[in-house]
């Protein structure tokens, strides 16, 4: 009682005073003041995982962990682990920062040290240590836990057993397959009826796919779907198992399943797939690439390296491969060929136009984002003045980079100036007819700037309580395919609403958005502006009779909707150096 009493409290107060003393300015500082105890969302699991992830990134060296290039990242796994800090402290105490075989006595001693913790902690002791061994790829540690269970005749523990299988699947060894099968048999003996939950089944699949019992993975997948949904990792492992055992039909079914669920296969899956295709022949590799093109997937770096050496070793064509990037217009920097342009078909686009108002602006309730009178007013306005060249999301542009810094009394002045500067930049680029969509409170912005805007462009102000992005999108769509729009918004919610109606619409919208959305990157102090222009080319596998271009993910983290910018360029040696701006695409 004394221990948790006033001592804690007084130290808390002292901390508070210290913090208070060190502050100076107002505004944001006051917001940062609050302690984690007062955090609003402290119970959210995702938030906790994020914090743990940051903690691990800063404090724990993961570079020493030897991870196979096609394997999952340990950081992601560890950040999901409950009570990570505590278990990791025990791990460090046991074997430092390297893999070690821990003798049985030492396990006993460590276990007893944590004896006082109560039954819940004690029960999860070995399971958690095995989870850590699995994430860090400590094979010897895993073996030692298993041996400890055998020598001390401890009761069977399913969490340990299933994770051990996963560990064996990750660390290649001579007797791995044998050990996996043995462990699997003993699990089946202990739990007759083959009833497994999602987590256990995934662990089993992660080991079993390499062994002769790879067909059991399919029943395990079914088991997973029974109480949840099998994740992309489990499906990819099963797919890898099928490819390794040359069961192409079953594997392609799983590939189709992943595509339907909008997941990408994991690196292991891709590696096994390519290995299979390589063994079958050149046609199979082509087929694999065409499948990847249709699904818009990106190969991992390791597989692409493998692919490069494969193509270069083909005797009849004499391919040469280079890792490159593209220019903004889609010109390959290695062979100076242009990539295929993104084309939104007229029919698709008309379908999108037709459904947009219904799905996005009206939605379930017109009053949520606007009201019928305003919507009619806007539609009339657009009908009278269309077509526009560019639609500008006024508030988004004005508030970009915090509207030139901070709040304060002269904020409207700076905001309106930024908007005016950007619009003038667009006018200089010979985009004549511009519509700026904003909200009514902008009418109170300085009349000098707004007057200039009024003279040069069309303005529309929505109600302060209305959403303005749908208006921007509507005007851009009604003006036809020649009209672009300027906004930093990712428009995810609108895309989602379209997907609710029809998934094809979502795809069309995404394509249209990529080709028509400009993004404001920077407004420089000297009133020059950098704008990111819309995307011109398709980021998928592309194949002409002379060359092959494969986009790949280099392993560096990408933004939420960012496409990889790294490509593998393969050209035939017989190719003449020419600049073909209209490549003939072959159907694979």
């Amino acid at each position: 009682m004394q221990r948790i009493g006033p001592l804690v409290c007084s130290s808390f107060v002292r901390q508070l005073r210290l913090n208070l003393l060190s502050w100076k300015p107002l505004g944001k500082q006051v917001k940062d003041w609050h302690f984690p105890q007062r955090m609003f969302v402290r119970n959210s699991t995702a938030n906790q995982n994020r914090r743990q992830r940051r903690d691990i990134e800063q404090n724990i060296p993961l570079d020493n962990v030897i991870v196979a290039p096609t394997d999952a990242s340990p950081l992601t796994e560890l950040s999901m682990m409950p009570n990570f800090r505590r278990w990791h402290a025990i791990l460090v105490q046991l074997c430092g920062n390297a893999d070690r075989y821990v003798p049985s006595d030492e396990w006993d001693r460590t276990f007893k040290e944590f004896h006082d913790d109560g039954p819940a902690r004690k029960q999860s002791f070995y399971g958690s240590m095995m989870t850590l061994a699995c994430s860090f790829r400590y094979r010897k540690l895993g073996d030692s836990i298993l041996d400890h269970f055998q020598t001390k005749q401890l009761p069977f523990n399913i969490a340990v057993a299933s994770r051990y299988i996963k560990l064996l699947g990750r660390t290649a060894g001579k007797d791995s397959a044998e050990k996996i099968l043995k462990m699997y048999e003993s699990i089946r003996k202990h739990f007759p009826g083959d009833v497994y939950d999602v987590g256990t089944a995934e662990n089993l699949i992660a080991g079993l796919y390499q062994t002769t019992k790879w067909k059991d993975c399919f029943s395990l997948l079914k088991m997973m779907d029974f109480t949840g949904r099998a994740g992309p990792m489990a499906v990819s492992f099963t797919m890898a198992g099928a490819f390794l055992n040359k069961d192409c039909e079953a594997a392609m079914k799983l590939v189709g399943r992943l595509r339907e669920q909008q997941f990408s296969p994991s690196a292991v899956g891709f590696a096994a797939w390519f290995q299979y295709a390589k063994a079958v022949g050149y046609e199979a590799v082509k087929q694999m690439l065409s499948c990847i093109r249709d699904s818009e997937w990106y190969l991992p770096l390791e597989v692409v390296k493998d692919m490069k050496s494969y193509f270069e070793s083909l005797p009849e064509y004499k391919w040469t491969g280079k890792f490159t990037t593209m220019t903004l217009k889609g010109e390959c920097k290695a062979c100076h060929e242009y990539m295929e342009a993104i084309v939104v078909k007229k029919q698709e686009f008309e379908e999108l136009q037709k459904n947009f108002i219904n799905a996005v602006i009206e939605g379930s309730d017109v009053f949520l984002h606007t009201n019928p009178q305003e919507l009619q007013r806007y539609r009339d306005f657009v009908e009278q003045n269309k077509p526009f060249d560019v639609i500008v999301d006024g508030l988004n542009v004005a508030y970009h980079q915090g509207g030139g810094g901070g709040g304060g009394r002269d904020a409207p002045k700076r905001l309106s100036r930024q908007l005016r500067v950007v619009v003038e930049h667009l006018l200089k680029r010979k985009q004549k007819k511009i519509l700026v969509v904003g909200r009514k409170h902008m009418l109170s912005w300085p009349s000098y700037e707004m007057g200039i805007l009024r003279d040069k462009v069309h303005l529309f102000f929505a109600e302060n309580t209305s959403q303005d992005d749908p208006f921007v999108l509507y005007a851009a769509m009604t003006s036809g395919l020649g009209c672009a729009f300027l906004s930093g918004d990712l428009m995810r919610d609108h895309r989602f609403k379209l997907a609710l109606q029809d998934d094809e619409l979502r795809k069309t919208f995404l394509k249209w958005q990529r080709t028509h959305q400009m993004e404001l990157l920077k407004v420089h102090p000297d009133h020059t502006v950098t704008v990111k222009s819309p995307m011109k080319y398709v980021t998928t596998v592309q194949w002409t009779d002379q060359s092959l271009h494969i986009p790949y993910s280099s392993g560096l983290p990408l933004g939420l909707h960012e496409l990889p910018s790294t490509w593998l360029c393969l050209t035939k040696a017989t190719k003449f150096p020419n600049n073909t701006s209209n490549p003939v695409l072959l159907d694979l």
Binding site: M1, Q2, G5, P6, C9, S10, L20, W23, L26, Q29, V30, W33, H34, R38, F40, N43, T45, M81, P82, N83, W87, P119, A120, R121, K122, Q123, S124, F125, G127, S128, T131, K152, Q153, L154, P155, F156, N157, I158, A159, V160, S162, H190, F191, P192, V195, Y196, D197, V198, G199, T200, M223, F226, T227, G228, R229, D365, F367, L368, N371, T465
Partner: protein, 454 residues
């Protein structure tokens, strides 16, 4: 080691088991086998548990519920002398499930055990009601979150018990001290509970009578306050329950008020989750004794439209003056997961007047959204109706973390109150002793420490 597996047995049994294991763990001469253990452990060593359970069976009829015995265990008990031989998983069946659901239930029980062994936060036991909630969750992560929620509740309960035990210990010490003093000097006059006092102790029933008089007065002549429960479709089960609990709290505050509102619950869906939870919270709801009106009708059918004002934080207009002639509507909406301007859209559609609370005018915001819970808004209105001072009411009912506190202003001299105009300046820095509650706690703790050290 044998003890490590007992976590699923309920706590009281467990404590005894622990003690016994410690006492007899080494002797190993257990032979009598009677009764059947009902643990759900994957790695239970039966050798130790069986005889212990024989004496405790009457206290733990089923494995996860201490009251009901409607469940039947699926598997037979293992008979094994070998320590390492595994005890097969024992599955529980719930009445009224189809075969497929039963199979699914088995898998979920298995998952529960695995999660426990992997160190996830799971409760020690689940009731039948909770298992049925688990069955409705279709993904593993949703189930993990639900277990985590239950675990936290369990821990909170446990800590509350500990806290109460400590408080009662202190009370006991104080009481003894008092008795000692009385014994030393029996003739001295002392005031207080159980001592000499001219004031009678007022019991709850008496309080309730006076509260009911005020509520009845409000029902006849008072101002109505409407709760609009039209948002059930937009809320999750948890949010619906929260809505009900907040309305219950608002009712509790209203009862204590000097001049209470006449509470109206409109657009109620009698079979919805919100109403069910509300009936749990206010047991006499719907009876004449409750004095809250519940109706399935809209407020438009009950009151003249021109008197209605919808309170919504998306509104443009600010409620600067409380009007006793208006009828205010509070949306019964908790939107933690998917906030949308629903009430705003609704009153746009119905053409009602709408207003937001004058938060920006009277207080300076530190963190968090400018949305308040239902009971906070109701309490605000009740207070403003009573004394008309918005600032006082806001500071009292908005959570402290959301407001800039006086110590922040004092410690950093650069910080000025937000508005330079006098009428908007927040003078509560001087008026309100910041950190008052913490000071009280500190005093309480020091008393506790001094008493214990004696």
């Amino acid at each position: 080691m044998a003890c490590s597996s007992l976590s699923s047995v309920f706590r009281q049994t467990q404590r005894i088991l622990w003690r016994r294991c410690a006492e007899y763990g080494s002797s190993g001469s257990w032979t009598s086998v009677e009764g059947r253990p009902t643990t759900r452990c994957l790695c239970t060593s039966r050798k130790y548990i069986k005889p212990l359970f024989s004496s405790l069976l009457c206290r733990s009829p089923a494995s996860f519920s201490s009251q009901t015995s409607t469940y039947s265990t699926g598997a037979d008990p293992p008979e094994s002398a070998n320590l390492t031989a595994p005890a097969p998983m024992e599955y529980i069946t719930l009445p009224g499930l189809s075969d497929e659901e039963q199979q699914r239930f088995r898998v979920l029980q298995f998952e529960f055990e695995v999660l426990k062994q992997s160190g996830n936060q799971v409760p020690s036991k689940l009731t039948e009601h909770e298992w049925r909630r688990v069955l409705t969750h279709n993904s593993r992560s949703a189930r993990i979150k639900f277990y985590r929620f239950l675990f936290k509740n369990e821990m909170a309960e446990e800590n509350e018990k500990k806290r109460k035990a400590a408080a009662s210990a202190i009370r006991e010490i104080k009481h003894q001290q008092l008795r000692r003093e009385v014994a030393e000097d029996p003739d001295a006059i002392r005031y207080g509970l159980n001592l000499n006092s001219i004031f009678p102790y007022i019991r709850d029933t008496t309080m309730l009578m006076s509260q009911n008089v005020k509520l009845a007065q409000a029902r006849m002549f008072g101002q109505p306050l409407v709760f609009d429960l039209d948002y059930d479709d937009w809320m999750s089960i948890r949010e619906q329950t929260n809505t009900a609990m907040q309305i219950r709290d608002a009712h509790a505050y209203n009862k204590d008020a000097r001049d209470p509102f006449w509470f109206q619950i409109c657009n109620a869906r009698m079979r919805g989750m919100t109403m069910e939870a509300l009936k749990r919270g206010i047991p006499n709801l719907g009876e004449p004794s409750c004095l809250i009106e519940v109706s399935e009708k809209s407020y438009l059918d009950l009151f003249p439209k021109e008197r209605l004002v919808y309170l919504s934080y998306n509104a443009e207009d600010t409620l600067l003056k409380f009007n006793p002639e208006d009828i205010y509507i509070i949306g019964g909406l908790v939107d933690k997961t998917n906030p949308k301007p629903l009430s705003m859209a609704k009153c746009k559609k119905q053409g009602l007047r709408r207003a937001k609370l004058p938060l920006d005018v009277y207080v300076r915001w530190a963190m968090g959204g400018k949305n308040l819970t239902i009971n906070q808004v109701a309490a605000l209105l009740i207070d403003v109706k009573e004394h008309g001072d918005w600032e006082r009411a806001l500071i009292k009912h908005i959570p402290k973390r959301k407001l800039v506190q006086p110590e922040d202003l004092q410690s950093s001299p650069g910080v000025q109150p937000y508005h330079k105009q006098e009428q908007y300046r927040a003078p509560y820095a001087e008026r309100y002793g910041g950190g008052r509650r913490r000071k009280e706690q500190q005093q309480f703790r020091s008393v506790l420490e001094s008493l214990l050290s004696q």
